[in-house]
Symmetry: C2
C-alpha cells in the first residue's frame, strides 16, 4: 500500500517544520508538500494531488472555512483535517459542514495529529480530545450565546452601528466593539454579512 500523500497548509512556518518532522519517519504518511497561504494551497493541490490536507483555519489570504468548502467542491476525494487554535463550537461545526474529516487543535498531542491524518485517509472522521469534549458539551447545550451577546446580535441584525448600539445598551462603543469581535469568533463568521445570515438562519435572535 502506498503512503498517504499529505499536504500541510499553514502560514506559521515553525509549526509547519514541526509537522514535517512529525511525519518524517512515518511508515504510512508522506508529506508531499507545504503551502503557506490559500493561493499556494490551491496550486499545490493541482501539482501534488494529495490524499489529505492538514488545513489551518487562519490563513493570511483566506478563511479556512471557505477554502475547505472550495476544495471539497472541486476535489471531493481529498480529505481535509482542520488545524486550528480555536476551540469554538460554531467554527468546528462549520468546518465539518463544509466537508472536513477531522479537527485538531494546534496544541493537541502529536499522536492525535497523526491519528487524524490516517483516519481521514481511511474515510473516517476524527476530532482531537479537546474538540470532542467541546462538541459533546455543546450538543447537549445549544445555547452558545450569553444574554448580552444575543441582545447585541439582535441589534446588529437590526442594522444599528456600534455607536447606536452603545447608546441603546448604555455601554461604551469600545465595549460593543469587543463584544462584536467576540461574536465573529464565536460564530466563526468573517464579517457582518455572515453574522446576520447565521443569526437569521439559525434563529439565534
Amino acid at each position: 500500500m502506498e503512503k498517504i500523500k499529505l499536504l500541510i497548509v499553514d502560514d506559521h512556518r515553525i509549526l509547519v517544520a514541526g509537522l514535517k518532522k512529525l511525519f518524517e519517519n512515518s511508515a504510512t504518511v508522506q508529506v508531499t508538500g507545504v503551502a503557506f497561504s490559500g493561493k499556494e494551497c490551491r496550486s499545490a493541490i493541482i501539482k501534488e494531488l494529495p490524499d489529505v490536507i492538514l488545513l489551518d483555519i487562519n490563513l493570511p489570504d483566506a478563511s479556512g472555512i471557505d477554502l475547505c468548502k472550495e476544495i471539497k467542491s472541486q476535489h471531493p476525494e481529498i480529505k481535509i483535517v482542520a488545524l486550528s487554535s480555536f476551540n469554538e463550537y460554531a467554527i468546528v461545526r462549520r468546518m465539518l459542514e463544509n466537508g472536513a474529516s477531522g479537527y485538531v487543535v494546534k496544541n493537541a498531542m502529536p499522536e492525535e495529529i497523526k491519528m487524524s491524518v490516517e483516519m481521514a485517509a481511511n474515510n473516517a472522521s476524527f476530532l482531537c480530545e479537546e474538540i470532542d469534549l467541546l462538541m459533546r458539551k455543546r450538543s447537549k447545550n445549544p445555547i452558545w450565546l450569553t444574554p448580552r451577546e444575543k441582545e447585541l446580535l439582535k441589534l446588529i441584525v437590526d442594522g444599528f452601528t456600534n455607536h447606536e448600539i452603545a447608546e441603546k445598551m448604555f455601554l461604551g462603543v469600545e465595549t460593543i466593539n469587543s463584544y462584536r469581535k467576540n461574536l465573529l469568533i464565536k460564530l466563526g463568521a468573517k464579517n457582518t454579512a455572515i453574522l446576520v445570515r447565521m443569526a437569521l438562519e439559525e434563529k439565534l435572535v
Copy 2:
C-alpha cells in the same frame, strides 16, 4: 373644528421655509413646529403633540424609516407623511410598513403635499402621483433587481468583500462599489446587515 397641528421634520432649511410658507394661510393646517434632526423631532413631538408629521427620510442623525417606526410605536395616533427625494419602491414599501400614512416626493406639486397632510389627518393614506405610479408598476412586476444586482447580492450574503466579489465577477472593485451602493439605495437598506436581512427575508437570492 380645530386646525391640524403639523410638525415639519427636515434638515433642508430652505425646503422647510417653503413648506411653512405653503401652509401659512391654510384654513385647515397650522404648522406648530419644525425640527431639523431626529433628535429635535423627538423633543418636538413631546412638546407639541402634533396631529401630523411631515417627515424627511434623510435626516442627518437618523433614518426616517426607523424614526417612523419608533414614533408610531410610541404615538400611534400621530400620522406620518414621508417626505423624500427617493422614488424607490422598497423605501416606500418600508415606510408604509412602518406606519406612514403618506409618501410625497419633494418635487411634488404643492397641492399634493397639502392634500397628503389633510388626508393623513383624516385617517386616509395618500401617495403623490409619481409614487402612486411607481407602486402600481412594481406591484405588477416584483422583479426589482437586475440579474447583475442579484448576482452581487448573493455574493454579499455569502460574506465576500468587494475585492473578492470583483475577482469572482471579473469586474473592477470600483464597479462593485457602485453596484453595492446602488443596492443599498434600491432596497432602502442603510448597511450590509439590513441588506443581508432583506435578501434573506424577501428571498431575493
